[in-house]
Point group: C2
Chain length 253, copies 2
């Protein structure tokens, strides 16, 4: 197993991929040390800096952890984490093993409510935003209602048929208009289904729902979407991985 020094992929990424593959395949087992930095340095014939860069990369994904003076160890396998990772409904459902579907309930231009203006940090007040309401399915069962408000710097036409064909709004935006959802802030809360929502989701009114409100940022770091997603609590939950983080403070002066 060697790396290709002529590849356009940097060496540290090739080495990181090698390490990931060793762990995924089970060659290197959980809680056991992987080869030391000096061993990997010799194996791949690169400098130790490059090895450390690769190890840091893999450690950031949580696949390995490092202990000073002891070694680098394979971490326990992670739960799939839908939180932290920004994805579309479509790929979220696929990764959960369900087939996504949708029914577009409405697609109109509206004057935004204050809540939406605030989330999108919209400056111009007399601006119209695109409002898309969709019922979403997992394996042909209704699972969620999405109410999205979209605002773009440039003029963008999105029609119901475009969206129906594409399936995923994020794919459509990226492929056709070069808008890449890069980051998002979410709040997660519990709420009760009102009669309209209950009818759409095929549950009794008052049933608990998971309400996820997301503000999405593109590669220009500007918010372009505010969306409220109402999920049936019996069919959807979120996963998160938490860790302690230090924050550096300046001591004296």
């Amino acid at each position: 197993m060697h790396i290709d020094p002529l590849s356009s992929i940097p060496k540290y990424k090739q080495i990181a991929a090698f390490i990931q593959q060793k762990i995924d395949s089970g060659d290197w087992v959980v809680y056991e040390p992987i080869p030391s930095e000096r061993e990997l340095e010799a194996k791949f014939r690169v400098s130790r800096t490059t090895i450390r860069q690769a190890l840091e990369y893999v450690a950031n994904t949580g696949l390995v952890y490092r202990e000073h003076g002891k070694g680098t160890f394979v971490a326990r396998p992670k739960e799939q984490h839908s939180l932290e990772q920004l994805t579309s409904f479509t790929s979220d459902m696929r990764s959960r093993g369900s087939e996504p579907g949708q029914k577009i309930l409405s697609l109109t231009y509206v004057e935004p409510e204050p809540k939406v203006i605030q989330a999108l940090k919209a400056e111009n007040e007399r601006m119209e935003v695109l409002r898309i309401e969709r019922l979403r399915f997992a394996d042909d069962e209704p699972i969620s209602i999405h109410r999205a408000f979209l605002m773009f710097d440039i003029d963008i036409e999105i029609t119901a048929s475009d969206l129906q064909v594409s399936g995923s709004l994020y794919s459509l935006l990226e492929r056709e208009h070069g808008i890449v959802p890069l980051e998002a802030d979410e709040t997660i809360e519990a709420t009760a289904a009102n009669p309209d929502e209950a009818a759409l989701l095929n549950v009794a009114p008052g049933t608990p729902l998971l309400l996820i409100s997301r503000t999405t940022y593109s590669q220009t770091r500007k918010p372009f979407e505010y969306v409220e997603m109402l999920y049936r609590a019996d069919r959807y939950k979120c996963f998160a991985h938490l860790s302690r983080k230090e924050r550096i403070r300046i001591v004296g002066a």
Copy 2:
């Protein structure tokens, strides 16, 4: 502004702290570039590697972002993120601006249910775990019910009065027994209050609640706690920050 080369704090952390302070104080403003790597190199009289280490450190906290060929920029201020950051109820409430309180409902040793055994990855079947049930308050209003199951390799005595005095279970474990909660996995879902829970939380039965189930890992990477936390939905929500992450794949062979 200089750094102390003799300090036990590494240079890159001192430089990272300097950068954070510049941003916190508003000297460097959002979306504007900060000094380039070469400028910082000259300013602090360190190698570029050290500067890059500091910048990477700050970038990982999300305070700045980097754009190839353009520069390093101050990111928009982040929402406080209670998710990702593992904290105790006590410090979580304080960071939300409320005064935490608790009432210990029960503290007993029990034989764990299968769900708990699985979460704690308990090997020995005839093991007893410590079960602590608490009602938790924010500003003297009930906000949450915590049902925790604790299992330790070593023998640990925890009494109700210890816990009552300390306030925070995590502080008690860390200070008295050297057990540091380092990481955790959580699932977040919505549920309805049953009559008992409703009475404790002072809401109507059937009211939506946020159910957070956490498995907590100590510094030995072994799970030591499984806890279910039921929050009043009208007084508590979670925050999360999502971003796209690439996962390296090995191409051919």
